[in-house]
Amino acid sequence: MSIAARHRPTQPFVEEVLKLLSNVLFPVVVFLIWAIATTIGTAVDQNQPPERYYEEYPVPVANLVLRLHLTNVFHSIPYISLIVLLLVSMSVCTFRRVIPKRFPKDRAVPIEKFALHAAQITAADSDGYALAARRYLERRGFAVRPQRIGDANWLFADKQKWARYGVLVAHLGFAVMALGVFLGWLAGYRGQLQIFSGQTVAVDRAAVLVTLKKFSAVFQPVQTPSGVTYQAAKFQSDVAVRDSGGIHPESILVNHPYLTPKKVYFYQASFGFAGRLAILRNGRPVSLPESDGRLMPGDGIDLPGTSRTIEYGTMLGPSDPSQLPAGLALPRRDEYALWIFHDKIPTTDKPILLPIGRSVDAGDGYVVSALPPLAWSGLTYRYDPGELWVGAGALILVGGFIMALFFVPVKLYARVQATAGGATLDLAATTTKGNAIYEEDFGALVNGLRDCVEIGGAAGAASVEAYA
């Protein structure tokens, strides 16, 4: 058996699959399923621990959500498969339907069989009428190609023929965007930095050293019915970036990233304040070897030689009013919220509020005083070699959409034949978008064609016989 013969039995199957994929109803169905899946993913909080769903929904619903894995829709295999299916169907459709589709050939056609057709009779002679009609159509923006077929003058005309390629262009745009995203995935990278004031961090891949000189946050008080709240107005990291070209002072703000000469972006992503405490025992400073002196929420300090622990909570105050619980007055000075535990039991029923510069007795001879906090800035860095492709693909996509959706490519067939005492013009039109969309324009064309011979001086009134 030859190889070709052995493969033959699979051919009808492959053909069936390709036919299915290039059927327009296929993407319609996939689009709708995709929309439903996306809506579910929007409505159901994603990637939460199972308890959360039981808190949020009645038990049967929570069970359903968890069993159907609706907790992680967007990165699930079925969801990604839907997108892949769409892309595959789009590609198959492009190669099997969009590209092979030819603009109808210039040839004699049975005009009466077209849904959009009309006939006119005039007293003008056939050649004169054909010429007048040709001029008229050209004025209306048609490219007209006259041909003599048999004893009739044929005019083949088209307008906005290029609009047929809209779908192709739009699909190409998608492909270019996908290429850009792929390039970014293949050759790009991203990462996060947390830099404290004064600290220097090396970003090896970007070949830079970043020093945070200062972080500033500006909040504005806003009067609301429930009291004054503080709304963030500005987050800014003043950094020094050292690369092979020297050291550059830069400011990185939300919406205003810093771009290195190697095209790595640094974004302002987050911020915060680390607490700092000085600890004295019996009047002498205690150094805590395991601590770097920066306390983040939840950090604890075991006081040596005791069963006491200090747990740092947060910082409240003018430097970061966003932490202030609603309805409370803003303290005039930054203060730390702390817990002191003795034998794992809190020594107070509320957190201790310790203003900067003040001290508190922690027991067993320990005194804890609050040093000014240390701001930190969270920066995201990213290198994406595909972004230009994505941008270009987006432009192409939108261009294709506009071509495909706004413009109607039209082909006209006009036949002018001499009849007793004059000539008849038969006109038919086809579009790629159904006839209804062109009905009105067709009516206008027919009227215009009638007028053009009348105004052109041809004798006798033309009549529109029929137009579907």
Binding site: V24, L25, F31, T38, T39, R190, K214, N255, Y265, L405
Partner: protein, 318 residues
Amino acid sequence: MPDTNPYTQYNTNAGGAMNAHVGAYMAWYEAAVVVYVLAAIAFLAYWAFAHRAIVRTGASLAVIGLLCQAASLGLRWRYSGHVPWNDLYGSLSVVTFAAVTFFLFFSIRFGIWFAGPLVLGIADALLAYARGWNKGLEPLVPSLQSPWILIHVPVVLCAYSAFLISFATSIVYLLKKRVEDQALHFAGRSVGAAVAAIPPEAGFVSAPYLRWLDRVPSSTKLDVITYRVTAVGEILLTVGIILGALWAHVSWGTYWQWDPKEDAALASWAVYAAYLHLHTRPSWRGTKAAWVCIAGFVSILFCYFAVNIYISGLHSYK
């Protein structure tokens, strides 16, 4: 690092001036709400009486409403120092403004004046509902301090407005189609009890409250109009989503975060993409397409209200 915050002492005088400014733009807003009600009533009257003068009155009222809204949005812009579409109040105002503008434009182009009661009624309801979401003259949060807000937001909101109109024309389509089908059905009858009730020259008479449908273009034309308006909306939504993705790229460092608003917008985009593909099939145009168009609008409502109000994410700017 600031030890004291320059804004800690809230200036109550500034608060007073701010309230006066809010009062000024809200007055124009109230005027717009009232004028649009009148415009909707005028178009409702057009269903009952086929006078051109009524259409002219309705259209003039709609234009006056637009001017009031323009004054309101302009004052808010001026006094806040930033674009007025930073909260749900502002974005609903823009949706209404764009919907009425599109309605006038498409009506002049395609003669869809008869959709006026639906379009103006819904648009005005949205505007009236916006009142409860007015945040006043708050400063813009850092994540929105970008020129992208000038374009991303209005483009998406205009897409919603176009979809509101194609929703209205889809509804009218379904009504018209029903009447047409009934007429056909009756015309097909040669004998029977029904014949006596039908004037012979008309073949079929619709219910009195549906009489206005006789003056509406044929269902085939309505289908084409719906297609054209939806196409405008889908292009705007595509551009809006892409602009959003590009903004996210320069603001957050990624094109797409699977944020609820992004996802919901994508879902709506997919429904309308299904509609446009469906419309390429002659046998699926009309009723089936109209229902998909209506489903698309439901998904827009989900994207707009449910996501803004109930689902928190990076886009929670209500």
